[in-house]
């Protein structure tokens, strides 16, 4: 039983192989047809589309790229901020000490403009020109 026409000197069949009806019948009987008619194609396409949209990269996932670097970066930013704070406290201590005066003035019911004047006066009192201007 041969279903091949072979190339001379080779083993590649050169024509459409004849079907073996008995083997085909047995295979069809055992494997059955593909149940194309039982598939809801619209539903399947919808499922695929929904799965793809669910898998699409959300914008916040780009943050994940920075996940490993987030801790050292925030530590560095914190240290930088702290150094600025310390530096400004050393150079202008009145700027830091004046804030509580302003808060207590607001809490005590002083008008906002008055509280702002207290704060500005405290900050600028170290500067002769600004103090003269305010006086």
């Amino acid at each position: 039983m041969t279903d091949l026409h072979l190339h001379r000197g080779g083993r590649t069949p050169s024509a459409e192989p004849r079907r073996d009806p008995r083997l085909s019948a047995l295979l069809r009987d055992l494997m059955g047809p593909v149940p194309m008619g039982d598939v809801d194609w619209d539903a399947l396409a919808g499922r695929v589309g929904a799965a793809i949209r669910a898998r699409q990269t959300p914008w916040w996932s780009y943050m994940q790229r920075w996940q490993r670097r987030a801790l050292p970066l925030s530590l560095a930013a914190g240290a930088f901020g702290a150094s600025i704070l310390v530096h400004s406290w050393l150079t202008h201590p009145e700027a830091l000490t004046s804030a509580p005066d302003m808060v207590s003035a607001v809490v005590a019911g002083a008008p906002v403009e008055h509280a702002a004047t207290i704060f500005t006066h405290a900050v600028t009192s170290g500067t002769p020109y600004a103090a003269d201007f305010l006086e």
């Binding site: 590649t12 073996d20 019948a25 009987d29 494997m31 593909v34 149940p35 598939v39 793809i52």
Partner: protein, 201 residues
């Protein structure tokens, strides 16, 4: 080139049709790559039937095949950057189905599932139920010895009635290569199923 491989008018029109499909797919893929995910819906609609057909032949179960189709289109979407748009899309996604389907089948090998009988309407058989069960077990055993390509080719040809050219187009193989695998697969199947074939009237 043999006379059967020489291009005729029909082959020429098929080549034109094939080129048009490649161009259409390339345009759709470009749109997807540019961020238009709706274009992928068109790809899904164009290919889900042939993809399902292959998926069903790999896993042998309708619901598993539908899951496999979904999984393969997701994978295709995810790895779309690696797809060469100058090549036809069909064989590319068929390869994904064959690879993923083979993995799925292996991972589910322990789960003893009978092929669907409620949705499949088998042809009237001369074999009685006991012999059919035995033949089916033997067939599964021998199909497992074939490689994925041979299994798919012999199924597409002898069960689904496709020609070697059609199979070659679907799997991106030369028709001669398809015939060779078909010959090998049939040889193995005939030997293993000889008893059941001879029992047929």
């Amino acid at each position: 080139m043999s006379p059967t491989d020489s291009p005729g008018p029909l082959d020429s029109s098929l080549a034109d049709e094939r080129r048009a499909v490649i161009e259409r797919d390339a345009a759709l893929v470009r749109r997807v790559r540019d961020g238009d995910s709706a274009a992928f819906d068109e790809i899904v609609k164009a290919y889900m039937r042939p993809v399902f057909q292959v998926a069903y032949r790999v896993v042998g179960h309708r619901e598993d095949a539908e899951d496999l189709v979904q999984d393969c289109f997701l994978a295709a979407y995810q790895y779309l950057d690696s797809y060469d748009a100058d090549r036809p899309f069909g064989p590319w996604i068929t390869r994904i189905v064959l690879n993923r389907g083979a993995n799925l089948r292996r991972s589910r090998a322990r789960r003893a599932t009978e092929p669907e009988t409620d949705t499949v309407s088998p042809a009237p058989s001369a074999l009685d139920e006991a012999t059919r069960a035995e033949a089916r077990a033997k067939l599964e055993e021998v199909l497992a010895t074939l490689n994925e390509r041979q299994r798919m080719i012999v199924t597409m040809c002898d069960v689904d009635g496709m020609t070697s050219s059609e199979i070659g187009e679907r799997l991106d193989l030369a028709p001669g290569t398809v015939r060779w695998h078909l010959h090998e697969a049939r040889r193995v199947l005939r030997r293993a199923l000889a008893r059941f074939i001879e029992d047929e009237p």
